[in-house]
């Protein structure tokens, strides 16, 4: 995987189309989020560029999901701000433009794949052709009429993804989309994400598997609710002194601990 890291990152931000380059799709300023008494995110500042894939990486419990929920606007912010496509996160006008795929598939198990995608599509005025296209995009054409409950775990999460793709969001937020997928499917999905970014979609993808970082053009490294770094995979390899991004990440964590 490390060879991928190298050639993917040479032209950092190559995926951003000229028209949108330079503008931020997501911008967080002094972001704090607490749930109950627990402080989940403790002061994040970052911005995510338009039309590229940003990876949100960190161990489980680091606050990845809370951050994503904040960006899509379902999580109350304690202090600070998140702006999405130039508006405050969760603004009603963003509901057409932001797609969110949760970690566990949020679809109706007792409906067919097609009925699920059609229903979520109906919220965005999607046509039958859009529905078919979204199902094809996740490679489930031959299962379109099957009940989602009868599919495997990986297939259901692809149904969940199709339900987000059908609205053609400008910003797509994906929480661990590749968990439980076999390597072939994982590679296919990353290809699809890359194609979407090429076409101008902004993607924010979380993962706790560091090797997936190589597919992203920018990385947010999160640990214990703090942003350790925002960098490209090449910079990560350099700063962490390893082409193994997992090791590089660990090195950066240790560096941080030593500095404290």
């Amino acid at each position: 995987m490390s060879h991928l890291a190298r050639d993917k990152t040479k032209p950092r931000g190559h995926a951003a189309s000229p028209a949108t380059a330079g503008t931020a799709a997501v911008e967080a300023v002094a972001l704090h989020i607490s749930r109950g008494r627990t402080r989940i995110l403790r002061g994040l500042d970052f911005s995510i560029g338009n039309g590229r894939i940003t990876g949100l990486l960190g161990p489980s419990g680091s606050g990845k999901t809370t951050l994503m929920r904040g960006i899509v606007g379902v999580q109350k912010i304690t202090s600070g701000s998140i702006s999405v496509l130039g508006q405050p996160a969760g603004a009603p006008s963003l509901r057409h433009d932001v797609g969110y795929v949760t970690q566990s598939p949020s679809v109706y198990p007792d409906l067919s794949v097609e009925a699920n995608v059609r229903y979520f599509g109906a919220m965005h005025g999607a046509t039958a052709a859009d529905t078919a296209e979204a199902i094809a995009a996740v490679g489930l054409e031959e299962f379109a009429r099957q009940k989602t409950a009868d599919l495997s775990g990986g297939q259901s999460s692809r149904v969940s993804l199709a339900c987000a793709l059908v609205s053609r969001p400008k910003l797509l937020v994906l929480d661990e989309p590749t968990v439980g997928l076999d390597p072939v499917l994982r590679a296919e999905l990353w290809e699809r994400f890359a194609a979407m970014a090429e076409a101008g979609t902004t993607l924010l993808v979380s993962s706790h598997v560091m090797e997936e970082a190589s597919h992203c053009s920018s990385l947010l490294l999160l640990r214990d609710g703090l942003l350790l770094a925002q960098l490209s995979p090449a910079e990560l390899a350099e700063r962490g002194r390893s082409n193994d991004l997992e090791r590089a990440f660990l090195h950066i964590i240790q560096e941080g601990l030593a500095a404290q």
Binding site: R35, V72, G73, V74, Q75, K76, G90, P92, R95, H96, V98, Y100, T102, S104, S106, V107, Y108, P109, D110, L111, A115, R118, Y119, F120, A122, M123, H124, G125, K147, C163, S167
Partner: protein
């Protein structure tokens, strides 16, 4: 509100039910079977001439109570699943309006309730010769309003349950007192003051009153319409309360 999103929700809820043959069968057949049991319970009663059969009174009220109970249960479980599975949160990130979702649900289950009470009312009239002065159409109308009341209360109660087990426990809390106090077991004017006062404000009471109006009069009376209007009002209030429990943003 957006009719397209509301109807898509109705179609989706009905689609979910359609795959569940057993639930559909239970919804459609069980009330008719229970009605049969009620008929045979009172089969051998001896009545003074000219006195109405107990079945004509109790059977009629049950026509309105079944859809209420069944739709309360079906809705609270379905909505709870929606809340716990993440589909609700996902829906609320889309442009759908809360009212589209709630009225979509209400419409889907009222269609089921209409079918259910058509079957039960047909059995009551044609098989057991239910003998009341008013027409079956009004009976079905009250039954459907009752069903929507069950849907609205189910949507609301699902907010206070975390598991399906808890959701089912709301039945003794929300449904049973209404059945006890609606006038089915003891006429309301013979209850003590406290119970009568409580029964005066319970929604199901109005439907039993309306049915008694239908039973006693060949034409729809203004008292019946008034009861129906009060119930529709209660349904709308409960739906508004239910919509307050749908949060787009949680802390």
């Amino acid at each position: 509100m957006n009719p397209r999103m509301m109807l898509a929700t109705t179609a989706r809820v009905l689609g979910q039910l359609r795959h569940d043959h057993r639930s559909v069968a239970l919804i459609l057949v069980v009330p008719a079977l229970l009605l049969t049991a009620v008929y045979f319970l009172f089969e051998n009663e001896t009545l003074p001439p000219g006195f109405p059969r107990t079945f004509d009174r109790v059977g009629l009220m049950m026509l309105a109570i079944f859809p209420f109970v069944v739709m309360f249960l079906v809705t609270s479980i379905t909505m709870l699943r929606e809340r716990t599975s993440g589909t609700l949160e996902r829906l609320l990130t889309t442009p759908i309006h809360k009212a589209d979702l709630l009225f979509g649900y209400a419409l889907a289950f009222s269609i089921m309730a209409a079918l259910q009470s058509l079957v039960a009312t047909a059995v009551a009239y044609w098989v057991f010769g239910l003998d009341i002065k008013g027409g079956p159409g009004l009976v079905v109308m009250i039954a459907v309003i009752n069903a929507v009341l069950g849907v609205a209360l189910g949507l609301l109660c699902s907010a206070f349950a975390r598991t399906e087990f808890q959701a089912v426990q709301f039945m003794p809390v929300v449904v049973v007192p209404q059945i006890l106090l609606c006038g089915l077991f003891v006429a309301r004017d013979r209850m003590n003051d406290v119970l009568e006062a409580i029964s005066n404000v319970l929604p199901l009471t109005f439907s039993v009153d309306a049915l008694q109006e239908i039973a006693g009069n060949a034409e729809a009376t203004s008292a019946m319409w008034q009861d129906a209007a009060v119930m529709v009002g209660i349904v709308l209030v409960v739906l508004v309360l239910a919509s307050l429990t749908l949060r787009r943003r949680t802390s």
